[in-house]
Subunit: 338 residues, 2 copies
DNA sequence: TGTTAGCACTCTCACAGGGTGAGTGCTAAT
DNA sequence: ATTAGCACTCACCCTGTGAGAGTGCTAACA
């Protein structure tokens, strides 16, 4: 469909454009790459590539820029997944090391790492999976009428919420309740908690029933929202990219990023590493961007990574970075303390 | 120092500028407010006010804009803390109601509320105070070698962290450790936990000592970082303000907002409600902004609110909003569930 | 037949010049 | 002390012009 020469030219255009962010013209192309062809020939080929939809022209007398379809083609068939450059690799190792010894939260640290190495925006989420089961529940009275409810899930994540206690509840009764709830709910998966189960619980429990309702509500809430742990870093990186010189664009972008419940679904994918280009992301204000997502799963933990950059993203580098990162985590469970 | 007429003119200029974001000229001023004076007189007075430092002129033939000192004077002596307008009040009530029934996190909800009512940026923090004591500690094994450490503080906040367990530790031993640590640390304030205490603990504990170290490290970490719960909302609001048409400014602003460990100190103040204007905030990239902060304390909870807007902020409205909010929380403890 | 040189053409961008309007400061009259 | 009048100063907008980059087309060439 595309002969060898056209492929080479397309690739050259894309690589140049990724680097310069300027429309690339025929003359510039022959200068930078040594294809043994004159600008005129390149022009003809470029015109073909434009007709086929791989390239676009911002205006009549400008160079060409890749279309989203062009990027897609590049990513699918032409991208050489180069190893990380020596320097990047070094920086990465150093940062990974500093994360291991850091006492901060893992998501935040990884987000910072990804955004600083890529100079794009990074998203890290720790989704609540409905197949998680409840490992432990605690109810800790704080004042006479307020307590903190703590739920630990089988992947080690913790959710907590404050609940109101009925007036005059004694600590003995709270302990009793805690034991009861634990006995009943330990090992139960989140998806199994439904009205019926709660009704049964209420029937069995010889004590204050309203509390059970509270607990149910909160557990239910935990199922719905995994956004608790969505971390974003490097928004400012994007503003350095020439495509975001326009405040209005930035405004829309940031607005979408503030709707964090709508971001989590974006990070889900079937493959290990997936690349979404422009409208494939499914969010209007991201239509000039690309998103590379990766997931990492361990028995005790699931993490979703996302890297959001301009469509003119260094795909090869980004992908190999994510692969490297996953490998690092996989091989030594190198997550240290959260 | 300032006669009645100068005060009136200064106030008029400030109010107009807050409203229009445009330099206000002598003619425009007499038109909008009915002072019985001609533009020429106003011009003379304005020149005086400029000399005194209350007003500034962007360039020779433009109107005047308030200097930061002008704002400061306005805020200190001339601001009438109007009640919220009927409409705002209504919206606020509605939002407060929806928060009570929401099952989301309180900080987030309040942040959303504040930013949507003010159309500025809001910050909410729940700081860890070193005078907090430890109410309860839990160690929940997750895999053979990993556990989640949970610490509940006396104000009801929860911190958690995963820790590595030594190979081959039995659950009996974990329970033993948990009981021991609880017995020793319950009621101890965060600031009292130091090397000496840890050394004593280690001496007393007949078991694996490395875990105690882990626990100490984590508790120590909790003291230092209250940023865990810093929530920011409404960054996009700021981008709507005409003073942020410049991407570079936005970039710097966002950059500062991403350093969230440096934000918490900004929200601390001695008074109940404090207003920081421009350089008073102490962050370079906020030098065109003002920050209004308020704190709210209840036995089981402490919250810090901050509203960041352009120096040209509606101070009166913002302050009365925060007062109203605090009153709401105080009178009925209306925080519902977190 | 594919490739290349040459050329006219198009379009953006940067810059300069001129007109407009808002606003000032000064001066002289009230 | 206040005000009307007036000359002056900028910022802003519009326009035009020239330079530069790049294209498409045509005709010549291997």
């Amino acid at each position: 469909m595309l002969d060898e020469r056209k492929r080479a030219i397309l690739k050259a255009v894309i690589q140049d454009y990724i680097f310069t962010a300027e429309p690339v013209g025929s003359r510039a192309l022959v200068k930078r790459h040594d294809i043994g062809l004159s600008p005129a020939t390149i022009r003809n080929e470029m015109a073909d590539l434009e007709e086929m939809g791989y390239l676009e022209q911002p205006h009549t007398s400008a160079g060409r820029i890749p279309s989203h379809w062009g990027y897609r083609f590049y990513v699918n068939t032409m991208m050489d997944e180069s190893e990380l450059s020596g320097k990047d690799s070094e920086v990465l190792d150093k940062l990974l090391l500093s994360i291991r010894s850091s006492s901060g939260s893992l998501s935040r640290d990884v987000a910072k790492l990804l955004s600083s190495v890529t100079s794009y925006l990074s998203l890290i989420a720790e989704p609540a999976s409905p197949s998680q089961s409840i490992r432990h529940i605690d109810i800790i009275p704080v004042t006479n009428t307020a307590a903190t409810l703590i739920v630990v899930l089988s992947d080690g994540t913790v959710r907590h919420h404050s609940v109101n206690l009925p007036q005059g509840l004694e600590s003995r009764q709270v302990r009793h309740l805690t034991r009861f709830v634990n006995r009943q709910l330990e090992g139960v998966t989140l998806q199994d908690i439904d009205e019926k189960l709660v009704a049964d619980l209420k029937k069995d429990f010889a004590g204050n029933v309203r509390l059970i309702d509270s607990i149910f509500t909160i557990v239910h809430y935990m199922m719905l929202t995994g956004d608790q742990n969505l971390v974003i870093d490097g928004a400012t990186n994007l503003l350095n990219q020439p495509e975001f010189k326009d405040v209005e664009k930035v405004r829309k972008l940031l607005h979408s990023l503030e709707q964090n419940d709508q971001l989590l679904p974006l990070l889900q994918a079937d493959e290990d590493i997936a690349i979404k280009i422009g409208s494939e992301i499914g969010v209007d204000s991201f239509s000039d961007c690309s998103l590379v997502i990766a997931s990492y799963t361990r028995p005790d933990r699931k993490l979703l990574f996302g890297i959001l950059g301009p469509a003119r993203m260094e795909y090869a580098k980004t992908v190999s970075l994510l692969k490297r990162l996953r490998q690092h985590f996989q091989e030594d469970g190198g997550m240290g303390n959260e």
